[in-house]
């Protein structure tokens, strides 16, 4: 057995079924070994998208996503994918080929120090110099990527290590004993009891949920918790979809791009429980928001997040799934707070979403209405992948999520995430309906994957909200440099009808509100991959 075959055996031991990637000489031994292994290799059209596809796969399958690319430019192209996963704590194992061990450091063809380049946005990285280390390294990599605060782990494997023979292959069974890595799982019971006490005292309690609830698989516990104690809920962008958006206790998204009523709830509550949310700048950017006089509980699996942005009254480090289970077991007698809930309902009914401004002139599609209509027509458990830009904010504020998932690049804001991530999501669950919604800017960063969608006959539905501008930046320029737009006009091309045809993908057009529902229906009902071009007023702002 050679090193490459050993890697494949490691992947099989970890239950890996699919690897997204791109080939190249330095990773070729690996792809060669993977060929008849039963693990599927998926050839994306640029390495960055291997990272995003693995991310979409990981988020829907709740497993560690795997991607593999070659050395040098292959590895550097992947960096954005790794950084994007890191910012959203998505578990990935990224394998890069490397030049031969003896040549490392001599600037040979296609050599790049990817470990050095990726250092600040990987959870951990390995350079494998001895083929005998492979089983241990892969075992540790999967463990590190998928435990604690999840994240991407990079394994750089020189070509000669992939080709070297390995005699004894034994894959470790129990969790690796790493003396420096022991993620906290259970929350401290004393702290949890304090939260119970605060719940009993609070007059205006509020829960803010983040992406950590998805990552810990605690959706059910979360729902049971807020229903049992009738706790109103707001969410961050990453926490969208933890509760169905129309849930009785759900108020909306917080943050500078959020719902006004959700931000108001944050301002007026007297007990705020942040769960699996890192209190990031975008989520608590409301200038009127203050934590003075509030009891702030912060639950996070990463101790470094607690106190980083605001000092909590009660910090709890641990996996939110366990902490919720502990809270559900306790006999907590909340003060009646129906008045507070009634007030919140009133705010919700009055809410003017920021994107209501985005209506636009007639002769175009009203984007917020479109998103609401589209999402209501999707299957109950559909995966909705939003890209970055105006389309992301309009999606967050208007789409209805029931039992499905909402995926987006929240932390890094990487344009071009939606199509490859949708691809990964579809691979994770082929039965599920998957829709990617992007602007025409992000589309042109990722449209090469239409080739893969066609080649693999993946019935992924792509919505391109076209305004021929980088809309969110244009909007920013409008405020910062009034009337002076630069580097944001995309022109009318490309003609999406021809682009779709060139890739063998069905194309649909929606350019007015009239008959919109029928058009969306036709688009969703089409058998294979399809592209819906939605024309919106280019000069409309969403804020």
């Amino acid at each position: 057995m050679n090193g490459a075959e050993a890697i494949v055996k490691c992947l099989k031991s970890e239950g890996v079924e699919i690897v997204f990637g791109y080939s190249g000489v330095a990773i070729d031994p690996f792809w060669n070994a993977l060929k008849d292994s039963g693990i599927k290799g998926v050839l994306v059209r640029t390495e960055q998208n291997a990272g995003h596809a693995a991310s979409g796969y990981a988020r829907v399958s709740e497993k560690v996503g795997v991607c593999a690319v070659t050395s040098g430019p292959g590895a550097t192209n992947l960096l954005t994918g790794i950084a994007t996963a890191y910012a959203d704590s998505i578990p990935l194992v990224c394998i890069t080929g490397q030049v031969e061990t003896s040549q490392i450091g001599s600037d040979v063809f296609q050599e790049a120090d990817v470990i050095g380049a990726a250092e600040s946005f990987v959870k951990y990285s390995f350079l494998v110099k001895d083929v005998r280390d492979l089983p241990r390294v892969f075992h540790e990599a999967f463990y590190i990527a998928g435990s604690g605060r999840k994240g991407p782990v990079l394994i750089d494997v020189p070509q000669d290590v992939q080709e070297a023979s390995i005699r004894d292959f034994t894959y470790p069974e129990s969790d690796p004993a790493l003396r420096t890595y022991k993620p906290t799982v259970r929350g401290h019971i004393v702290q949890i009891r304090k939260v119970a006490k605060e719940l009993e005292k609070a007059k205006r309690p509020l829960v803010c949920c983040g992406g950590g609830i998805h990552l810990s698989g605690a959706g059910e516990e979360f729902r049971a918790f807020v229903e049992k104690f009738r706790l109103p809920v707001v969410w961050t962008m990453m926490g969208l979809g933890v509760l169905p958006t129309e849930h009785e206790m759900g108020l909306g998204m917080v943050g500078n791009n959020g719902h006004s009523n959700a931000n108001r709830a944050m301002r007026e509550c007297d007990l705020l429980i942040m769960m699996g949310a890192r209190v990031a700048d975008r989520a608590v950017a409301d200038p009127d928001l203050t934590f003075d006089g509030k009891v702030l509980v912060h639950i996070d699996v990463d101790p470094a997040e607690i106190g980083k942005n605001v000092g909590p009254t009660i910090p709890i480090v641990g996996d939110v799934k366990h902490i919720l289970a502990d809270l559900l077991d306790m006999d907590i007698k909340c003060r009646p707070h129906e008045d507070w809930i009634a007030a919140l309902y009133e705010y919700r009914s009055e809410r003017r979403t920021l994107s209501q401004a985005a209506k636009g002139k007639s002769g175009f599609v009203d984007a917020p209405k479109f998103v609401a209509l589209l999402s209501s027509m999707l299957k109950e458990d559909a995966v909705y992948v939003a890209d970055v830009g105006q389309n992301q904010i309009i999606s967050c504020l208007n789409c209805e999520i029931r039992k499905g998932r909402f995926l987006t690049s929240g932390g890094m804001g990487t344009m071009g995430y939606s199509i490859p991530a949708a691809l990964g999501a579809k691979k994770a669950d082929p039965e599920r309906q998957v829709v990617a919604v992007c602007g025409d800017g992000a589309f042109q960063m990722s449209m090469m994957e239409l080739a893969l969608i066609h080649q693999e006959k993946l019935p992924i539905k792509i919505v391109v909200v076209k305004n021929s501008y980088l809309g969110l930046v244009r909007e920013h320029q409008k405020k910062t440099y009034p009337g002076d737009y630069t580097m944001v006009a995309l022109g009318d091309e490309p003609d999406l009808k021809h682009i779709a045809a060139a890739y063998g993908i069905d194309w649909f057009l929606a350019s007015e509100m009239k008959g919109l529902k029928e058009r969306i229906k036709k688009f969703l009902d089409s058998e294979d991959g399809a592209l819906l071009e939605v024309r919106i007023d280019p000069m409309v702002d969403i804020k």
Binding site: G116, E119, S120, L178, T180, A304, K308
Partner: protein
């Protein structure tokens, strides 16, 4: 506020850049950094002197703790520790100042460890403020070159 971080790390390649990178990314200046093996050759001890307010120091500690190659971190102030720095200074001398230099060395308990017709090398191992004092005293004399280890420190002994 000046702080000393005593960081036990896995003795592996690349660990130094991971740790120093953390400081660099958050624009914290490292005043000094010294690395060496401990009694266990698989473990190195990094002694880092840096400054920052309470919040930044807490963040540095937490972020360092997240690094998988970091085993343990101790943070303390200079007064709570025994700290030493080793310094080598090469100075140019002549007949008129030779005696003065030797008197300074004697007063500071520094050794002359190498010498030629017009150059001498002085070694001092002492508390960081004493090495700073030595530099001040020698500043009137022409310093040719100098090397310092940076601070090494361990918390003071307490009954344990």
């Amino acid at each position: 506020m000046k702080k000393i971080y005593s960081v036990l790390v896995e003795n592996r390649s690349g660990v130094l850049s991971k740790v120093s990178g953390l400081f660099a990314r958050r624009s914290f200046n490292i005043d000094s950094l010294a690395v060496g093996e401990t009694e266990d050759s698989a473990v190195s001890c990094m002694t880092i002197v840096s400054s920052g307010d309470r919040h930044t120091i807490e963040q540095i500690e937490k972020q360092l703790n997240k690094k998988i190659d970091v085993i343990k971190i101790k943070t303390f102030e200079e007064e709570e520790s025994v700290s030493r720095e080793l310094m080598l200074v090469k100075v140019r001398y002549n007949k008129s100042n030779r005696k003065e230099i030797m008197e300074i060395c004697e007063a500071m308990k520094a050794d002359i460890v190498d010498m030629s017709e017009n150059l001498m090398m002085i070694q001092l191992c002492d508390r960081p403020e004493r090495t700073a004092m030595m530099i001040r005293l020698l500043s009137g004399i022409s310093i040719v070159e100098m090397a310092r280890t940076g601070t090494l420190a361990l918390p003071k002994c307490r009954m344990s």
